[in-house]
């Protein structure tokens, strides 16, 4: 038995109590990973907001559509360089839960407005030329084993094909490389979508994207666009992507606050519980501390051992909790989205868990270890 063995045996002196305490700490760290991952997903959007682009959507709601004639009119507005439009298609591959985010776009202008998606001239040309064409992020094609030239069936989440089924067929004609995983969106052609949709034919579009010549005039141009349609049956709401992101973030700010609040409450409760357990242990162990001091353990050594117990307890729980949490997040994300975005495997959460674990151990262990170190042998021995 070495020092670590002694600390270990002291910690597990009451197995059931120690294991219950560990189980609740594991749960707390599991929650930390789960909730922080939610936070990471929400907060990540911020980095990809763009101030050079305006987004035009229906004033009523983002799911209401706009007539395609709006696109021509927006193109007339001075200060807008390039304009494109897109519809949300939904999309799932093979299994309705296997979601593949898909947009129906205008093939010729889409990549001009979203140049962060790199596509070769050859593949772009093929997309322009094939009405049933589809282009996919390389990452997604690799995941599903799609090859250029394949016929890929996709299920739409809400849009029925002409034959009243949800099944659509597309020809994979090209691949592109999005800047980051937020760009992992499969693109199909809007004209084909409009034809194929059982209720289509009116060329309705979901959203218009405009690249600005001068970002400083964003507000002015947005106003001008909205005023064009103010008194029509399809009024619009225009803002920069960054502005949308900010509104989104304002809501997320609340979510983050909530997430952190819940975590704070969880750990505060744990602190009270673990602190109470520690204090109980302290009382019943006072004569023992007297004994080991009698044997020649210095105050400093006893301090280290008692603090070591709380470090060991919390660190082990943190390792198990983070490992479990990462598994659960991975499982959930794969079940819901089909792939694990690399950002979720970030070391940020692990680091946070490490810092929380050390801080927590010290908070819980400091008082008992100081008390143990300060005990007078004679008093401790008489305490039995």
């Amino acid at each position: 038995m070495g020092s670590l063995g002694f600390i270990w045996k002291s910690l597990f002196r009451r197995k059931v109590r120690a294991i219950l305490t560990m189980a609740s700490l594991v749960t707390a760290f599991l929650l930390l990973v789960l909730l922080r991952s939610v936070g990471v997903v929400f907060e990540a959007g911020e980095d990809f907001a763009n101030v050079h682009r305006l987004s035009v959507s229906s004033k009523f709601s983002v799911i209401d559509s706009l007539p395609k004639s709006h696109v021509r009119k927006v193109e007339q507005v001075e200060g807008g360089k390039t304009v494109t439009h897109m519809n949300w298609f939904g999309g799932a591959y093979q299994d309705p839960y296997n979601m593949v985010m898909t947009f129906a776009v205008d093939p010729s202008s889409y990549f001009d407005v979203y140049p962060e998606n790199e596509i070769s001239a050859e593949h772009h040309e093929a997309f322009n030329a094939s009405k049933t064409g589809m282009v996919a992020p390389r990452r997604i094609a690799e995941r599903y084993g799609w090859q250029v030239g394949d016929r890929v069936p996709l299920l739409s989440t809400i849009f029925q094909y002409q034959d009243s089924s949800m099944g659509w067929q597309f020809d994979l004609v090209g691949l592109f490389d999005p800047e980051n995983e937020f760009g992992d969106v499969v693109l199909i052609r809007h004209d084909y979508f409009d034809e194929g949709w059982i209720h289509g034919g009116d060329e309705a579009i979901g959203r218009i994207g405009v690249v600005l010549e001068d970002p400083d005039r964003a507000r002015e141009i947005a106003k001008e666009i909205d005023s064009l349609f103010e008194n029509t049956s399809d009024p619009t709401r225009t803002a920069t992507e960054a502005e949308f992101a900010r509104q989104w973030l304002a809501q997320i700010g609340n979510i983050s606050l909530m997430v952190n609040g819940v975590l704070g409450a969880v750990f505060f409760t744990m602190l009270l519980l673990a602190g109470n357990t520690m204090m109980q242990g302290l009382r019943e162990r006072t004569p023992e501390f007297g004994v080991v001091k009698t044997l020649g353990f210095t105050n400093a050594r006893l301090f280290a051992y008692v603090l070591g117990e709380s470090l060991l307890l919390v660190t082990m729980s943190a390792v198990v909790g983070v490992a479990l949490g990462t598994q659960v997040v991975g499982f959930l994300v794969i079940a819901l989205v089909g792939d694990m975005p690399p950002m979720l495997q970030s070391w940020g959460t692990v680091l946070l868990a490490g810092v929380v674990a050390v801080g927590f151990s010290v908070l819980v262990g400091l008082f008992p270890s100081i008390t143990a170190a300060r005990l007078q042998i004679v008093d401790a021995l008489r305490a039995r």
Partner: protein
């Protein structure tokens, strides 16, 4: 040659504004290799005196010299290290750590040495053999009888090979037969291994095993130490 030398030692406890003089101007020399029984009524200060000799407590005045060390001059950590090397303690209620096996209880003082783990293990096993409990190494204290627990405690007290054993009523909680076994063990340690022993006891039969008997009454030694 004296191994313990107390000179004019007093110990006073203050409770509130009440001062209790527990030991009054004690002068005491203990020869190396002696086995002393310390007797006296309850509350007469026996444990207090023992604690001073073992370096668990400090006198209010006077000096305590044990071996080459003046205990009042040592720091708290210096005193702890000194105890680890020089004193073995045996208590009335054994004071074994409940979560450790007999083997690990005996190994505990060796954590303070620089011995490698294998050597620690072996020394602890030897000490357990010495007290006749080699076959109970894996037992927890709760799985041992009182007499067996006290023998484990003695193994723990001698495992680091101290020069003095300090025992506070080591048989106070035991039946006659277990008590005799423990006293026999202490005699062996005294005779064969040359340990100096100071033992507090209320039991005159126990005191018969010692070479000398001292009596403490109301904080004073009433019977001077007879010479061997």
């Amino acid at each position: 040659m004296e191994i313990v030398s107390l000179n004019d030692v007093s110990k006073t406890y203050t409770k509130g504004n009440q001062r209790v003089e527990v030991l009054r101007r004690i002068c005491l020399d203990i020869e190396q290799g002696d086995f002393i029984a310390l007797m006296g009524p309850s509350g007469s200060g026996k444990t207090t005196l023992l604690n001073l000799i073992g370096g668990l407590d400090m006198p209010t005045s006077g000096t305590v010299q044990v071996g080459a060390s003046r205990l009042e001059s040592l720091s708290s950590s210096g005193l702890a290290r000194w105890r680890a090397q020089n004193i073995g303690f045996v208590f009335q209620f054994y004071n074994l750590l409940p979560m450790l096996t007999a083997q690990h209880n005996v190994e505990l003082p060796l954590l303070l040495t620089s011995l490698p783990s294998k050597q620690r293990k072996q020394n602890a096993a030897t000490a357990l053999d010495l007290v006749g409990l080699g076959d109970r190494a894996k037992h927890k204290p709760s799985e041992l009888s009182g007499g067996q627990q006290q023998r484990v405690a003695i193994a723990r007290a001698v495992v680091a090979d101290p020069m003095i054993l300090v025992c506070d009523e080591p048989t106070g909680d035991l039946d006659r037969q277990s008590a005799e076994e423990i006293l026999g063990l202490l005699e062996i340690l005294n005779h064969r291994h040359g340990k100096t022993i100071v033992m507090v006891t209320h039991d005159p039969k126990a005191a018969e095993h010692a070479r000398h008997t001292l009596v403490l009454d109301k904080g004073e030694l009433v019977q001077p130490a007879a010479q061997a």
